[in-house]
Amino acid sequence: MFPNSGASAPTMRVTSQSVVPRDITDEFTEAASKLSTGQLVKDEYFTLFEAVGALEIMDSKMDSGFLGPNENHAQALEDDYDITRELAPEEVVGIMDGLLCHEMAWHMGHPLSQTLFTSLYLDRLLWPVPNTLDEARFTRGSADGRNEEPALVNLVLRAYCMALVKCCDYVHARVAAEYYYEEEDFVTQLYNRNLLSPFDLDPFLDLLDRAAAWIEEQQDGINEEVRAAIKLRIEFRRDLLLGLYQDIDVIQNRSSDNFRACLSRLSDLAQSASIGKPVPESFSWKVQRRLASTVPPRPMVNISQDDALAHLKRLCQDGIDLQEILDYRGPHNFKVAVWTMLSRKPQPSVYIRSLLQTLIVNNALVLGVVPVRDFLYDELAELVLPTSILLQANTDQTEMPSNPRFQIAQHMDGFVKRFSQPFVDTFRSACLNRCRIRRTVCHTLVDWDNLQMEAEDLDEQLRTLSDEPPLILSNGDSTYSYPFSSWAYHQKLNQFRLILQLGFELSIYSPEELPGMYWYLSHICSTHLGHLDRIRTFTVATAKRNLTALAGKKRDAVERHAVLQKSLRLLERLSTQVVAVDAFAISLHALYVLLDRHHILPTASSPQAYSSERLRYELRMKPFLPITLPELVPYDDYRREALLEGDSDGAVLERATKAITEARKAWETTLANGAFSPDQPTPTTPAIEEDWKKDVKDTMRACIGTSLAIESLKKGLAMRNTSKGSSPDGPSVDLRVDIPEVGSKARFHDWWAVPQISHNTLRSKT
């Protein structure tokens, strides 16, 4: 992952003064006529593929500048709307609310050309690009350019519009600086206009203050209710502007006051919306004919006031809750906080996600204070290298090249250079949209596979330098801890699990694949558990060695003991979570195997479809094909394991029941353990903890749903066995299976597709 480079269109054509145009129409026409049909004369680097992307001039669907045959030249380009006309106060409210809707539509990912830039008021302010703030007026170009009458338009509405544009400027700057997907998350295109970016904040606040003061004075002229509505909008805009201006300064000043103020005004904003009188004539898609745009003309986007306010509300709420991740509490807790925050439904808007990306890492500092190197060391110390000398060596302290500490430090420098970016990216990738997270992780998985191999080399070199004592296994073999490659493998297994679980969330798998995918999830989990055990073994061994020193009551031994215990507790915490996922996956796997076995599992592909189980398996394993460890499960093994061949229905049911009981217990433990490891100083994070608890509770509801489904299936199978004359091949079990879709109420958790099983006969009777 790298930040997007701001590719911008040329803004002005540069010509030298001495250019003389020469008419070549006749020569050109004659020459072209000599070409044979299909013959092209072209730039050798210009491909036909590019040519397909060219806009066809004079084609109404492609050419944004095309004027229809019945369109009068003047009307087509300019609207009859008079921007300097006087407005009723209700109309001002209507226009402000209309602008807010367009602003939110832009936040949601629609281009400016179809949203805010359709406003004729904004168009007048922003084009031609004003050199001073004073130039950005509705009355520009006319004789009385500086006139502020009528004040409702030229003072109040102008102040609102200017501040709105500045808000957009801050949002635009933040998003464009980070990794996002153009046209998927957001459109940064400005069509050669400028969002008043050269100007500082203060004049905008002055404008708003003057507008607020003026409206305050109009007790006689304007109806009280309308006056309050206008004032509210101006104050709201001021808060939002300040909130967006704060941006990453939130790390220093830790203030969420502005977003809180915005949030508190939203209900009044919604209530007073009915006062406003919309002025649809002041918005026109024809503005597109004058925008520098390389895309075909597109219609105006209109979203409802309710949708706009809902989006705004989430933006403010997320902006406030962002506070809770700002205190650094070690990589593990940080990851939980970031991931929980970004898994909110609906996902936080692209502005919040971009802001988070910057907060996660900016100028090689995590959360603005922790150097990336320390961040990586903290992670290693938490998991694989508690109290290790490897993390303490420093080239600044030891300068003798023959000293092992110096050599260790040199190796570690190389390690930090190589690993810090990929490691930080495992946090940053959570800020992408959900589909892109999965896609990105599929790619980074391969990188981590390589990193693991490099880490293994490093482990071997460092082992001799640090004089690591081998661990003697029960069979007499000796082994070493391989801390760095162990850690890389742990990261990779996390990513495996994430890819699978996001697969369920994004509804990638068809119903017939569910037995296999839940089997694979449990397979990855058990691999992971084994690996965590291995890491634990070495930490325990270190702790044992430390015990002798501890008996001597040495002070550093006591400290070491505390660190080792902390690390063991974290490993325990991680294991509990993986066990919980594992048990749940085993249960769902068994359940789906039975549904499949009795042909009551819905299928997405028709019997004539080209797809087959083998092909589907191949497709799903594609991200994992290049990975050396864990090894790919060959199809035949997979099939045997995933279908539980040879196990009777009873045995499979038993397996499902047992596993779900275990899963419920494990999830309860997870919930009791809490979101964050208490070994790090914990500031209060009520909102994120609430989200995290809700997530675990939803998972537990999914567990209960699974128990119910197992019971229904058990009954259904029992009934079939008692009833006589059931044909051996037809759909023998009289059950109906529904798999609730992601987002529906019956789908308790996105990551767990729990089937709903009901009785067909009972259903038809009612």
Partner: protein
């Protein structure tokens, strides 16, 4: 001009900045990329130029009047064409009214010299 010379002439224009006038009075200025027998022209990095609207002319005339009212009103006013960047475009041959080549006087002289010696362009 035989077929060979035609191709040579057109190839000599590749990469040059040309101005294509369209039937609706717009002018497209960009880098010549490609053409075919139907005289369809592909331009890269194109800017669209449009004659000023009547209202813009009116405004300009009005402000010219106020500025020069003391002196004698000048009969001519100058209004810029509006332009915008539109990128890669194809102008269909049937909509083309005029094609111009932008060149410096230097290039012009070279081309004239070539025309005399080679008998084309």
């Amino acid at each position: 001009m035989d077929a060979n010379q035609a191709v040579q002439f057109l190839e000599s224009l590749i990469g040059q900045t040309i101005r294509v006038h369209a039937t609706d009075t717009r002018i497209f200025v960009g880098t010549f990329k490609c053409t075919d027998a139907a005289r369809n022209i592909i331009l890269g990095n194109t800017f669209e130029y449009r004659p000023p609207t009547p209202s813009a002319v009116r405004d300009a005339a009005a402000s010219a009047d106020t500025e020069t009212s003391a002196e004698q009103a000048s009969p001519n006013i100058k209004v810029n064409m509006t332009s915008r960047f539109i990128g890669l475009v194809v102008v269909p041959g049937r909509h083309i009214t005029q094609i111009e080549l932008e060149e410096t006087p230097q290039q012009n002289r070279v081309r004239d010299a070539l025309r005399k010696t080679k008998g084309f362009v």
